[in-house]
Every structure is written in structure tokens, then in C-alpha cells.
């Protein structure tokens, strides 16, 4: 217990690893034991991560990174075993342990061959993903970032559907290209900063004093790894293959957590690495915003013409993640916290959609939309849950998707109405393809005789879906706790990367004490909350980024 109190992140990180090591020693032929141990350790992993929620301090005087651990690892190159989380990583860590549990539970009867390896690899994957969100050391971060590719390769390659070999290696190679360039970026950052340490906060703080050319190069070196992972528009082609061919649980984890590693990377590394020079910075921001909007629209349009349900949901991820990157590179508190919330939303609602498609696939062994129709008659409960997941995904108010998209659009609007307008077209398109899918699969008479006697959801499937649905409603109705957790890290990041934002804020509202009001100031802390909405669109950083919307951009 004492160890747990002082090393809570280590415990959370390595609980799944213990499970997979244990599985190594379970004989191959005792099939049930593998399932039980796999589920047990996924559950344990979730359980030990829960205390993070209430132990995480929201007080403005608390450290930026909490639950810190720091041990020397490879002294000769200055790498440390260094963990710590802030509000953003906290959300993603909890999302990972929760989705890990749910997807492992959902595999109970779906995985019939090589169960031992399946649960072993899945737990390893958990370790890799958690490590990425917790690492405060670049070397450690890179290690986790790469390590999780291997189990994912096997999850797709062994338990996937027909084109699994192709999809698996494509996923691996695509991600690897970005990773190796990022490795060079990390090394360059390491040497530019004088060498000797891989500590992430230190290095990122030093990065702001580099010359513009270096900063631009560093930004692009990191960009590819994250853009491929997210994925942003020109780098997205691995995603439909990987999502479609992966087993259900693999798709849930891919969409729910793996993609978030890209957006997390953007927030944690790319934003602080943005060049200080206004012109260079403006150029980069414009590119990122435009690419985000293209991702939103392109993803949505491609969804319209998909014949395979899973592929449709996969492409919808491109569109939804476009919103996330849009929010990030708006560089406003609303955009940023909206983006994090949208990342969670996407994990919940797309995760639920993949699970639901998995339910159909387990019963019919097809995912073609044309094979289904009128499913609400034999499976009314399934149809209801599916409806909620769809509505949450398309952003109906009172469900989670709305909160995220609203905040992102609001944050983007502060920068330029153009991006916001284009992005909202994406929302309309999203409603179109999701509802059209629903209509084709659920409504009307049962056209295919094979569908007439399909079983409705069973208890285990409820158990995987209900938590997601509850969370969807909770974020949709009362997102305040979430926003409060994100408040401080978001504010710190915006202050660092877009200092003009708060300067303009203070000038517009002289009531706030006009002196240097850094992070500790409670007045400053209140800024990004939802209640300070009106009148912020106008003074959006006139000093720092000169007239971003009107001049700088060609149509």
C-alpha cells in the first residue's frame, strides 16, 4: 500500500504487464484460464487507475505534473524513468484503462483461436499506450511509442479479417516512418538544448529560445509522427485498412486510444515547439488549420459512399479527429479543452459503434450494409443503444459529442469564422452519413431472411456498452468536472504558446488585476471556463498573430 501511494503511476502502468507475464506461464490448452486472467488484469488495471481521479489535485498551487516519479535509467545518455501526469494525460489514462477493460471483455467469445497470445498481447498494448501518456522523458516516451506497434501488428495480423496481413504491415510501416523522423527530432532537440537530459518539460522550455529555423525544423520533425497517428488528411490511408481488418476489440482500442496518441503528441510536444517568430508561426498554424478542415470534410464525404459499416466508422474517425486537431491549433483555451473533450468523446462513441458492429459481425460474419436492413424488429434493444451511440457521435445536444464540437467551434471562431464555418459543414455531413447508415441498417422491413431471428444483446454485451452510454450522457449533461480538470493544463499551454491571447483578454477587461498575472492567479484560471463567453471573439490576439484570418490566407 505504501508502495502504491508513492508509485501510483508505476502500478497503473505495469499491472497489465504483470498479467501478460503471468499468461506466459499458463499452459496453452487451458483456454478459460487465459480469458479469466486477461479480464482480471484488465479490470485490476482499471481499478488501480481510479484513485488517480480523486487524488489528482485541482488546486492552482499544485504541481503542473502530479504523481511524479523519477529514477535514473541510462545515466550515460541521460535517460530517466520519469512519469507524471497533468489534467490532459489524466483524462487519457483513464480512457485507456476503461477502454482496455471494455475491449478485453468484448473479446470473450469473439476470439476463438490462440487466446493465450491474444490476451498477452492486448495487455502489452495497454502498457505501451499508458506509458506514452505518462512519460515525462523523451527516451522513455519513444520507447513506449514504438513498443505498442508490435502487439497491435499481431492483433490485426492474427485475429483480423481477410486482408489482415496487408493491413497489419501497412499500419506498422506507416507509423514507423513518422516515428523514426520523430526520433531524429528528439535527438536534435536533445543536442540543441545542450545534451545531458531527456526531461520533457525542460527540453520543451529550452526549445522556445532556439532560432526560428531550428524551431520550424523541429516542429516538422515531430509533425509527421503525430499526423500519421491522428491521422490527418494526406497520411490517413493506413487507418481504414487497419480499422476494418482489426478484430472488434482492436478497432475499439485503435480508434479509442491509439489515435489519441497523435493528438496528445500535438498538444504536449508540437504546441510548445511552435516557432516564436510570428510569421513562421502563422504559416504553420494556417497549414494545420486548413489540413484539419480538409480532414473533416474529406473524411465525412468518403463516409457517404462506404459499403462496409466498419469502414464507414473508420473514415468517420478521420473526420472527428479533424475536429480535434482544429481545436488544438486554434490555440485558444476553448478550442484546446474542447479538443481534449472531443478526444474522449470519440473514444466513447466510436468505441461503442465499433462494439455494436462487432456484435453484428459475431452473429452474421459480415459487415456489408446491404446485408442488413430492418434490424430494429428482431433486435430492438440493439437498435436503441445504436441510436444513442450514433446521436452521440453526430453531436446531438445533451450527449457528449455536442459539448466537444461546440467548444472546438467556439475556439476556432475566435480565430476565424471561415474555419468554423467549414467545420460546421462537417457536422452536417456527419449527421447525414451516420443517420443514413442507421436508416439503411435498422429501419424498414427485414429484407434478408438471415436477419429475421438475430439475437438481441446479451448480458456481457450490455456490460461493455452501458458504461460507455452512461459516460456519453454524463459528459453531455454535466461536463463541468471534466472542464475543471482540463482548465489548468490548457491555460498553461495557451499561455506558453499564445501569450497574446491572455494579454488581449486583460486589455479588454481591465477589472482583472493588470500586473503580471501568471499561472497562480485565480482570475486567470477562470478564463477558459465556459461562463466567460461573450465578447471574446473580437480581441482574439491582435498583437501576436497579425490578422490571421483576412490577409494571410489564399482562398
Amino acid at each position: 500500500m505504501e508502495f502504491y501511494n508513492t508509485h501510483i503511476l508505476t502500478v497503473v502502468l505495469f499491472t497489465p504487464l504483470v498479467g501478460s507475464l503471468l499468461l506466459l506461464f499458463v499452459p496453452r490448452d487451458s483456454e478459460n484460464a487465459h480469458r479469466v486472467i486477461g479480464n482480471l488484469f484488465a479490470f485490476l488495471g482499471f481499478l488501480v487507475s481510479l484513485p488517480l481521479i480523486w487524488r489528482f489535485s485541482l488546486s492552482p498551487t499544485a504541481d503542473r505534473y502530479q504523481f511524479m516519479e523519477n529514477v535514473d535509467w541510462i545515466p550515460s545518455i541521460g535517460a530517466h524513468y520519469s512519469l507524471g501526469i497533468d489534467g490532459i494525460s489524466l483524462c487519457l489514462v483513464i480512457l485507456t484503462t476503461l477502454l482496455g477493460l471494455i475491449s478485453i471483455l468484448s473479446s470473450w467469445s469473439a476470439i476463438k483461436i490462440r487466446r493465450k497470445e491474444y490476451y498477452l498481447l492486448f495487455l502489452l498494448l495497454q502498457v505501451g499506450m499508458l506509458g506514452v501518456f505518462m512519460s515525462l522523458d523523451f527516451f522513455l516516451f519513444y520507447m513506449f511509442w514504438e513498443v505498442m506497434l508490435v502487439p497491435m501488428y499481431f492483433l490485426i495480423g492474427v485475429w483480423g479479417s481477410d486482408r489482415r496481413l496487408y493491413a497489419a504491415i501497412k499500419f506498422f510501416l506507416y507509423t514507423l516512418i513518422g516515428s523514426v523522423i520523430m526520433l531524429l527530432g528528439i535527438l536534435a532537440l536533445y543536442f540543441k538544448a545542450g545534451g545531458g537530459t531527456f526531461d520533457i518539460p525542460t527540453l520543451l522550455a529550452t526549445a522556445s529560445s532556439f532560432d526560428t529555423k531550428t524551431q520550424v525544423l523541429l516542429f516538422w520533425a515531430f509533425f509527421f509522427a503525430f499526423a500519421i497517428k491522428v491521422p490527418m488528411f494526406p497520411f490517413h490511408t493506413w487507418l481504414p485498412d487497419a480499422h476494418t481488418e482489426a478484430p472488434t476489440a482492436g478497432s475499439v482500442i485503435l480508434a479509442g486510444v491509439l489515435l489519441k496518441m497523435g493528438t496528445y503528441g500535438f498538444i504536449r510536444f508540437s504546441l510548445p515547439l511552435l516557432p516564436q517568430d510570428p510569421a513562421a508561426r502563422h504559416k504553420i498554424i494556417t497549414i494545420m488549420l486548413v489540413v484539419s478542415v480538409i480532414s473533416i470534410l474529406y473524411g465525412a464525404l468518403v463516409c457517404m459512399m462506404q459499403k462496409d459499416m466498419k469502414k464507414l466508422v473508420a473514415y468517420s474517425s478521420v473526420s472527428h479527429l479533424g475536429f480535434c486537431t482544429l481545436g488544438i491549433f486554434a490555440l485558444t483555451p476553448h478550442g484546446l479543452s474542447g479538443s481534449v473533450i472531443q478526444q474522449l468523446n470519440h473514444g466513447l462513441s466510436t468505441g461503442a459503434l465499433f462494439l455494436l458492429i462487432g456484435v453484428l459481425y459475431e452473429r452474421r460474419h459480415t459487415r456489408l450494409i446491404s446485408e442488413f436492413g430492418g434490424l430494429s424488429t428482431p433486435m430492438p434493444n440493439f437498435a436503441a443503444v445504436y441510436m444513442i451511440a450514433t446521436l452521440s457521435s453526430l453531436g446531438l445536444p445533451l450527449l457528449n459529442g455536442f459539448i466537444g464540437e461546440f467548444m472546438i467551434l467556439r475556439g476556432t471562431y475566435e480565430v476565424s469564422i471561415k474555419y468554423a464555418a467549414w467545420a460546421s459543414i462537417g457536422i452536417v455531413l456527419g449527421a447525414a452519413y451516420l443517420l443514413w447508415l442507421y436508416q439503411r441498417v435498422m429501419f424498414g422491413p427485414v429484407t434478408n431472411p438471415a436477419n429475421e431471428h438475430m439475437e438481441d444483446l446479451n448480458a456481457r454485451e450490455y456490460a461493455t456498452l452501458i458504461p460507455l452510454i452512461i459516460l456519453c450522457f454524463w459528459i453531455g449533461i454535466y461536463p463541468k468536472p471534466l472542464i475543471r480538470v482540463l482548465e489548468r493544463p490548457v491555460q498553461q499551454i495557451v499561455q506558453q504558446v499564445n501569450p497574446g491571447y491572455y494579454g488581449a483578454e486583460r486589455a479588454a477587461a481591465p477589472a482583472v488585476n493588470g500586473e503580471a498575472a501568471p499561472a497562480e492567479s485565480p482570475a486567470g484560471a477562470a478564463v477558459p471556463a465556459m461562463d466567460s463567453m461573450p465578447g471574446m471573439a473580437m480581441p482574439a490576439n491582435p498583437g501576436e498573430t497579425p490578422a490571421p484570418a483576412t490577409e494571410g490566407k489564399r482562398p
Binding site: 550515460s76 535527438l187 545534451g195
Partner: protein, 520 residues
């Protein structure tokens, strides 16, 4: 009686103590045991042939013990035999690699030879002779000694590569190896002869004590320094020597022999050639570049960088299309040569990069040995009567036939590809670090991006082992010796990845050049 013994052993004793003979102990042990094998081999029944392997193993162990005892002497950098031999940490480090590689290959050979029905004592004796040659390549501080070491090693390998007399591919590989090897040795000898000529210009009047011969590396270095950069003779010597050495390490464009020899040679010997022979040649190349040619470092750095990029390109892209695993690994080892050469480029660029670059090179060579022998070890396990087990399809469904060998195969493939947290990644990391540190961003980008095609073909092997259904091939039987070598190989590959600190220390130790030489 006692007097007689004393009279016989007396000169020997004084040779060992005063004549510097102690410096030769590791080599002597190997020669003694190799002779012993040759003497006792024909006395052994067919079923007792494993005794040869035991004997060879003992030789390696004794040699390792004496090597370990030399480490004290090495710290001061002992020079013997009128400046023609040096025992320094560089030698200890590489000697250690050779002995470990030899021991592992011996463990892997026993069953292989039984199955091929070629269980002759000469096999082990030649391996030990080859090791002796490698040790002289590293400890030689004189052109003659280095050349003799190289030839001792190469001659042993020509025979070993063709050891499967009844196999056409083995014969073909051996003949190719012999012809091309002799050709390259001739080029190297030509370069050495020029160096010998250059050595005459050295101004040695200031040296105290007995004059070192003109073939001594430091003498030649002084002469080259005296003649300066633009000297045509020096450039000619540089190019011929480097070309000869590039052949031995199989760098592009001197690589064509590698795939054929790798494919034809008995698999344990393939592993041995690709690890020990390559490491020894690298050590000798380093010795030459860091002493004799150090004044010309800016000239050869460009040359080496070009060869490195060519090796990476051809090695990686040619490997993609191979269907024979041994050929694929041959091409992949060409690409590994590219990485190591990049490390040498970084080391030559600046005093700052020297430490990181050389550390990277030493670390890479060390772990490269383990992971490469590991990859071949899995193929050796797959071999059975009439089947070499080196086609990609022979690996199909290995996970079901032998989960253990499939698991170790995965570890070695990941490590070779450079995926953390395994040894191969740390090796590539150091090389890339050195390149970035010395400002070779473009070379670093090349090196980093070539990880991607490498991963593709390594994972073709993995895919065959894990994702393809097994045919009707039987489950391989893994002997105790193979299990032990698996354990050692896996342990080092994983440990050097997760906690590389002790291995980094070992690599740094090898860079400690305490000799009189003071070039850097």
C-alpha cells in the same frame, strides 16, 4: 630430474615473462586446443565426435580466462614483439566478442554436423584457427601481423564455407569466396606494400630505444603525416587498403560474394562469417583508420559516408525481394554494415563526435553479433534431414510447431530492425545520436528512414512464422546446446535494450587507447 624440467622450461619461462610471450596467451590456448582436436579426432568413434566440440569449447574457455587476465596489462597498453603486437582494451573487447561468438557457434554446430553427417574434427579446429587469425587482426600493430591474421582467418573460412562437400551450393559458395577473397587480399597487399614504401620517409631519428620496423602502424602514420594530404601515393594506399577491407566487411560495392556464400555455407558457419569475420575486419579497419590513416580522416570520411549510404540502400532494397532467409539476412547484414560505417563517419568528423561515434560503433558491433547469431540459430534449429530450413516457407506456422523458437525469432527480428526496447535499437540510437551531434543531419535522416524497409523484410520472416498456417512440417527438436545459446543470445539482446548501461560501459572501455600513439 627437476633440473631437466627446468632446463627445458627455462627458455619458455623467460620468453613468457620477458619476451612478451604472455601477450600471446589467448592465441596460444586456441592453437594448442586446435592441434589437440586434430590429433585426437581420428581416434574417436563416430558417436563420440561431440568430444571435438567439447575440446574446442575448453579451448575457448581457457583462451577467455587468459584474455581476462591480460586486462590488467591492457590498461597500460602493452606492446610486444618489437612493436608489432599490442594488447589494449580495444583488443580485449574484440577478443571477447570473437570468443563469445565462437562458443555460441560451437554450441549450435554439434547437431547440425550430425544431421549433415559431416562430423569431422577439422571443423572445430578450423574455427579455432580462424579465431586466432581474428585476434591477430585486432592485436596486430604491424602490417605484416595484420595481414597474416587476416589470411589465417580467411583461409579457415574458405574451407569452412565449403564444408558440406556433397552440397553444390556449399561448393559454389566456397569457390566464389576463395576467388574473390584472394583477389581482395591481393589488393590489400598491394596497398600494404605502398604503405611499407611510405614508411621509409618517416623521420625516426628522435625516437629513443630500438627503432620500430617500417611496417609499424605508428611509423607509417608519422610518415603520412609528414607527407601531408595531397600526396598521390598516400591516396592510392588509402583507396586500395580500404577497398580490400570493404570486401571483408561486405560493404557495397564489394558485397556480391556475401549472399552466395551465406546461402551455401553450413548455417552455423554463415552465422560465424557474418558475425566474427565481419567484426574482426571492422576492428582491423578501425585500427588502420584510427592510426595510419587518421591524418587523412577528412578524406576518407567522405568515401566511407558514400559507401555507407550505398550499403544501406542496396542492402535494404535487395533484401526485400529475397525468399531465402539466409540470403535475406546476408543483404540485411550489408545494411548493418552501412550503419556501422555511418558511426565511423561521425567519429571522424570531430573530437566531440569521436567518443559518441566510436561508442556507437563498438556497441553496435557487440549487439549485432548476438542478434545475428540468434537469427541464424533459429534457422539451425529448423534444419533436419535433407532440409536446410532456410526458405521463408520453411518457417510457416513456426509459432505452432515450436513456440519457443518462434518467440526468440521475434525478439531477434525486432532487434535487428531496431525496435525498442531491444539491443538493436540502442545501437542505432547511438549511431544516429553521433550523426546528429556532428551535424550530419542528412546522413542521420537516411539512416533513420532505412529502418522502415528493414522492418518490412524482417517482418516478412515474422509473418511467415506467426501468421501463416503450418504445413505438414514436423516440430523441430531443440537440443540442450541450442537452448543454452538461445538463452544467452536472448538475454543479451533484451538486457542490452532495457538496461544498456553495463554494455555502454563495456563499449566505452574498448575506446581507451593507452598506446604511445597520440593522434587524438
Amino acid at each position: 630430474m627437476f633440473d631437466l624440467i627446468h632446463r627445458i622450461l627455462g627458455p619458455f619461462q623467460s620468453f613468457m615473462q620477458q619476451g612478451g610471450g604472455g601477450l600471446l596467451l589467448p592465441e596460444m590456448m586456441l592453437v594448442l586446443f586446435a592441434m589437440g582436436i586434430l590429433l585426437t579426432d581420428h581416434l574417436l568413434e563416430v558417436r563420440d565426435k561431440f568430444f571435438n566440440a567439447l575440446m574446442a569449447m575448453l579451448g575457448v574457455i581457457f583462451s577467455a580466462i587468459t584474455l581476462w587476465q591480460l586486462r590488467r596489462v591492457a590498461e597500460g597498453g602493452a606492446v610486444g614483439f618489437s612493436h608489432s603486437l599490442v594488447v589494449d582494451p580495444f583488443f580485449i573487447f574484440f577478443g571477447l566478442i570473437f570468443l563469445i561468438a565462437t562458443a555460441l557457434v560451437i554450441l549450435l554446430s554439434v547437431r547440425y554436423l550430425q544431421i549433415e553427417d559431416e562430423n569431422h574434427g577439422e571443423y572445430y579446429a578450423l574455427m579455432l584457427f580462424a579465431t586466432v587469425g581474428m585476434m591477430f587482426m585486432v592485436s596486430g600493430y604491424d602490417l605484416i601481423v595484420e595481414f597474416l591474421g587476416l589470411e589465417t582467418m580467411a583461409l579457415s573460412f574458405y574451407v569452412l564455407a565449403g564444408f558440406l562437400r556433397r552440397d553444390k551450393r556449399s561448393n559454389e559458395g566456397a569457390v566464389k569466396y576463395l576467388l574473390l577473397g584472394a583477389f581482395s587480399s591481393a589488393i590489400l597487399a598491394y596497398g600494404f606494400s605502398i604503405l611499407y614504401g611510405i614508411g621509409a620517409t618517416a623521420n625516426l631519428s628522435s625516437t629513443e630505444g630500438p627503432l620500430p620496423p617500417r611496417t609499424n602502424l605508428e611509423v607509417i602514420q608519422a610518415a603520412i603525416e609528414f607527407r601531408g594530404h595531397g600526396d598521390l601515393l598516400v591516396i592510392l594506399a588509402l583507396v586500395t587498403v580500404i577497398a580490400g577491407m570493404f570486401f571483408k566487411i561486405a560493404a557495397v560495392p564489394f558485397h556480391q560474394w556475401a549472399p552466395d556464400v551465406y546461402e551455401g555455407a553450413p548455417t552455423p558457419i554463415t552465422a560465424y562469417i557474418s558475425v566474427a569475420s565481419k567484426t574482426a575486419s571492422f576492428a582491423m579497419l578501425l585500427r588502420l583508420l584510427l592510426t595510419v590513416f587518421w591524418p587523412l580522416r577528412l578524406d576518407w570520411a567522405m568515401l566511407v559516408a558514400g559507401v555507407a549510404i550505398a550499403s544501406l540502400t542496396i542492402g535494404n532494397f535487395a533484401a526485400i525481394t529475397q525468399t531465402n532467409v539466409k540470403r535475406m539476412l546476408a543483404y540485411s547484414s550489408i545494411s548493418h554494415v552501412g550503419y556501422i560505417l555511418l558511426g565511423i563517419v561521425a567519429a571522424a568528423s570531430s573530437t566531440l563526435g569521436f567518443m559518441t561515434g566510436m561508442k556507437g560503433v563498438a556497441f553496435y558491433l557487440f549487439v549485432y553479433g548476438f542478434m545475428t547469431i540468434g537469427a541464424f540459430a533459429v534457422l539451425i534449429v529448423l534444419q533436419r534431414q535433407g532440409i536446410i530450413g532456410d526458405e521463408l516457407d520453411d518457417l510457416n506456422g513456426l509459432y505452432r510447431r515450436s513456440p519457443l523458437s518462434a518467440a526468440v525469432l521475434l525478439i531477434f527480428m525486432l532487434s535487428l530492425a531496431g525496435i525498442p526496447p531491444l539491443a538493436g535499437f540502442i545501437g542505432k540510437y547511438f549511431i544516429l545520436q553521433a550523426l546528429i551531434e556532428t551535424g550530419h543531419t542528412r546522413l542521420a535522416l537516411f539512416g533513420a528512414l532505412y529502418i522502415v524497409p528493414a522492418l518490412y523484410y524482417y517482418f516478412r520472416i515474422v509473418a511467415h512464422a506467426y501468421l501463416y498456417e503450418p504445413g505438414n512440417a514436423p516440430s523441430p527438436v531443440i537440443t540442450l546446446g541450442q537452448r543454452i545459446s538461445f538463452a544467452v543470445l536472448c538475454f543479451v539482446t533484451v538486457a542490452a535494450g532495457i538496461y544498456p548501461e553495463p554494455f555502454v560501459k563495456l563499449a566505452t572501455y574498448s575506446l581507451f587507447f593507452p598506446t604511445t600513439f597520440s593522434g587524438h
